[in-house]
Symmetry: C2
């Protein structure tokens, strides 16, 4: 069984416990002969997959009463991996969700690190500086790189900390965020854990 | 005396207690015969102003030991207006600064409301929705507009609340943010209050 996470810019494959990342442009669903279970937020790729009989959309396994209709399927998958706790998926957006006793409590969506930095740089040449990930978020800043890093990260990190525990970090920037969230568990394959759990549950029913 | 706040997209004039806003494109410094004191973050407009003998840059009045070299002059002006408290200037960026006994303590820069919303909409068609300013920021969200509004605003508003009091709100979105910060004072002319205070102090010396 191949698991596949299809985003807007990349496709992440999970084959026999190993991950492979492809650019959306280099991805051709016709090259896969085995059964593939996929979670996709990419409408244009979905078009080409729908006809293939060995591609299964994990959306059909989701209990939609637990979530809300426009919620990203990738976000639901990381929630499905966790019975209790806070899940932070840090990619181009940073989704933050809370699970309690296997039930979805709600969440929110912040901008991703790169997305935020690009937005600052677009605002003014003076703000076109890199984040300083060595900054002390507990302090207010007295230079531009620290001012934008604290301005973006301190409110968000402090909000996440107040949501409770255990805290799981996943996504491309999960490890980076763990510098600021020392008690968090970095779980890079969380989306695939959730997909697998959901598929197994679905197939059993 | 005319006061003038020159940003990257607009020019804000303060003449006899009245404000007039112009687009940068419609602004011609040659049309002013009276003395004009200006705070500008717009490098290309500065070029044209430098030759004019009736235009005075407020930068020369600033005690730069109090602030940091790359700090926006508009931000310094709102700080100069306040002896004690937290100043939030909500425009294309949201600057948050702390003053104590007339001394600058530091601050940070968040993205502005429109800037953040544009960044969300650029990320994915699914996130191209408007903020819901009626949302309860104390709750986690269960729909997309609330999820991005809470994701952007709740961490920021809660961080601002923890910085102390009194709290002053200014800038184009100052009044809008006051819905979430009930004890804040909306001070729309804060930049001009600061400019006036600084100029009077400078001229007296």
């Amino acid at each position: 069984m191949i698991l596949c996470d299809i985003g807007n810019t990349s496709v992440d494959l999970f084959i026999n416990g190993k991950r492979t990342k492809l650019c959306v442009e280099n991805f051709d669903p016709a090259t896969f002969e085995d059964d593939v279970y996929y979670a996709s937020v990419n409408a244009s790729i979905n078009e080409g997959i729908r006809e293939r009989t060995n591609w299964y959309d994990v959306r059909v396994f989701i209990d939609w009463d637990k979530y809300y209709p426009t919620m990203g399927v990738d976000r639901i998958m990381v929630c499905e991996a966790v019975e209790e706790g806070v899940i932070v998926d840090a990619g181009s957006a940073i989704t933050v969700d809370v699970m309690h006793g296997g039930n979805y409590q709600g969440g929110f969506i912040a901008l991703g690190l790169r997305t935020a930095q690009e937005a600052y740089s677009r605002l003014s040449p003076a703000l076109d500086v890199s984040f300083n990930f060595e900054v002390d978020l507990a302090k207010i800043a007295k230079n531009t790189p620290d001012a934008i890093t604290v301005g973006f990260l301190a409110p968000l990190i402090e909000k996440i900390e107040r949501l409770g525990k255990p805290l799981y970090l996943t996504g491309g920037d999960g490890r980076l965020l763990s510098h600021f969230l020392s008690e968090a568990v970095v779980a890079e394959d969380l989306i695939f854990t959730g997909m697998k759990k959901l598929i197994e549950k679905g197939v059993k029913c």
